[in-house]
Amino acid sequence: MASSPCNSYSEPPIIEQVITEFFAKSLHIILESRSPFVSSRNYSLDHFASSPSSSSSSSSSRPRDKWFNLALRGCPAALENFDLWRQSNLEPLVVDVLLVRQSSTMDMTRLSPGRCLLRNPSGKDKFPMSPRQDELGTRSEKIIERWIVQYESRKNSNFGKEMYLGSRKSSGVSHHSSEIPTLYKKTYKRTTVMLRSLYLFVRLLPAYKLFRELNSSGRIRPLSLSHRINFFIEPFTQAEDAEMNQFSFVPIDTPCGRLCLCVSYLPILEDVSSEPSTPLSTQFIMDYVGSPTTDPFKRFQSLPSAGLARRHSWSNDHGGMPSGSPSPSPTYSDSQAVHYNPTVHLPPHHLHDQPRSAISIPRNALAARKKNTSFEDYLSSFPFSAASSPFTPTHFYGGHLPNSLLRSGSAPVSIPSSRHGRNCGLLDQALPPSSSKPTRPGYSSQTDLLRAQNTSASRTSSPEGKLQTKKDPLSLGDFQTGISSAKAFSFGKDEAGTLPGLKCSSTCIPLSRSSSRLSLLDGFDDSEFDYPFADDEDTTESCNRLELSEGKDQVSLNLETRGLVPVPRSPDAVVGALVRMLNTAPPLRQDLSNSVRSSQVFRDESWIPRIQHKEDMEAEVEKSESPVSSSGITASGLPKPRTTADALAELRSYKEMKELLVKQGGSQSSDDNCKDKSADRDSS
């Protein structure tokens, strides 16, 4: 180390590190109290501490959250992003806190997500803050706070002259290397105190109250908070400047410069409580974490609504108006490239009152797409890196989503594999258009969404169409899978995970996969979201793997037996698995926890005799095809009374399965005998 560390007007490395971390910590403190997605309460300090942070702090043995002895929660992604884009400590850090007002007349479903932008460090390219006007409607932003954190080098500013000429006792022109440890301790202590003050100060400003109101309210408001990070200071207009109050923290002297922190803020903000707001239905809250909306495929379906990014928007918006319509609309028009996942079709505002997860990911993706900046996507996706699932899929989505994807369709997606299409079709079939007695409030919205999809003319592959056009021996397996999936996605976290049918369907059918996520209300397995688009390919592969697996569960067996996966298996094995399923199925019950199994058993028991009399029933089946109602289970998961149409639909499906067995098999008689025996066993 040089004897005179300030000869080159550069700070000693250790002081440089303090400066860097000061910037990061300041940003963290500010964002934590202004951006809901940053203000995570789910991150443990250990998690934060264990995440390696980039840039200079990564070389420090001290975890980032421990710097300045102020352990904060969450948001490592935002800080990493900051580290990536910040070129030097000489650049100021400017954080603008924006109050965003959305017009109430806009099409909620067309609001795009993502209001967090990181301007190009060069300052030349300014990414538009607002998505296209035609899609967003009226959206106005107002800077309510501007935080400026900067390091003034002695060389580059008049401050340097003051340092030379002034009589500051705490700083000197040159410092010997032996003084560096003392200087470091002094600088570190002062910086620590300043950051304590900052932590308190951000909570005293009016914007904090607004943040709290928007963050905690269960209502959809036209106002939302956003933030914008710049590395240059864009001067206020005269009018803006006149409105603002200023507060400057006393600069901290360093050996070769000083650290400055100041804020301009509006002393009076709009009263959020006076704004018209829409109460969020509790049904939206129920489903968010682990809901289909957190599933990447489901997220596609819910992309159009910018309002999704309300409070928990990792696009830095919260508390804003719902961009999604209260009911699913035909705006989900084009889902061609996306696996159909009925559970995805949740009304946009279904996602509003959810913890900071995937709500705004669709919005962000839309915005990013429009703005054509992968960096923005990266930035907007960051707050979730430590969170859970939504982050990675959003990152994927943000940069690559076509318009069609973003306005995800309501109808089943034309999945490349015909099996999937059939699955989806039957899945649609499994869910009746009207919900009844939703077990959890959220699911009625899902059902509504499905209804909208079912009735939407945007896709030719309507559930009925799928059912009719894709007659194949799917029947039992599809039906059961669909049922189990439907049940899963209609269940809460305590239930869906226990459904055996989900195991296979979770690998083969996106809905089930997302249903399993739906079941995890309080956080979900990040690994599930690591490869959101990989499901498109992986589903096929997983089904293939399923083929090869030996009857791991009933649904997998059904997939195979119905020819969904054309892997040759002996009919005896198939029938054996079927028999096992029938034997192990619990008796019919009306309570939710057993509804799937019981419904399966109910159906099994009901159609087994009918299969024997299939010839008699065929006519009835053909006469009354009611694919949607055949499930007997509503989206809410409560088994409703079976109708003849339901039974006939089941019979038809089982009949198809039987035909498949016969074709694959051996003799019909051996199959019938096996089925007879199982029927007798079950009926006894």
Binding site: A71, S170, K189, S197, Y208
Partner: protein
Amino acid sequence: MNCETCQLKELVVEPLEIRDVLRCILHTIVFHRALGLVRPKDVDCELFEITYVQCGDAELERKIDEKIDLFIGWVEKHPNKKSQVCLSFYEVRNKQATWMFSNKTERLYWEQWYINLHVINTKTHGKSHNSKAPINPGDNALEESSSRRASLESALHEVLFQIIKFVNEKKDHIPSVTNSEVISFPYEITTPSSSDSSFGWHTDVLKRMLQTGHPSMLS
């Protein structure tokens, strides 16, 4: 080393507001002096729309609540009086036994915060107002109470800003951190004691002065 003193703006409080106000102010001050590893805990005032920050140290919380209870007890015996709560930070120094005291350690106060409170009892204070509006005395009392509460909230805000400004302006007097505890420096909360007169805190101040001597002697 100088002893920096900060006289906070006087707050007019009701007995029921004492706890909230004192907790807010005391925790705010201590948070600035807790230079050990802190996991800040945001706390909302019960009576005001103010969020302050605690260090998360249970012992500190207990001690502060204890002192507040003492102060409230004193206020009950001395109603409608102006009083002070003093929060002091000191260093412990070994000292030669003097002729007066045999203490071998002394406290070197390097920072003192005086929280000035004027405790009023609205029942006794508000009689004159109520008599002017015999029709709706209850409504008037409510209005006055809410406006007084609002002005107290605003004043409390100002006090917190005052603390932040003071903390930022004066940093040179802070001693070095020599331990890894959350609250890096020993502190003392002084309240008027029951045995004292209305200006009884003077006794404590005198006692401290005798114990520590003049700060300049110990620099």
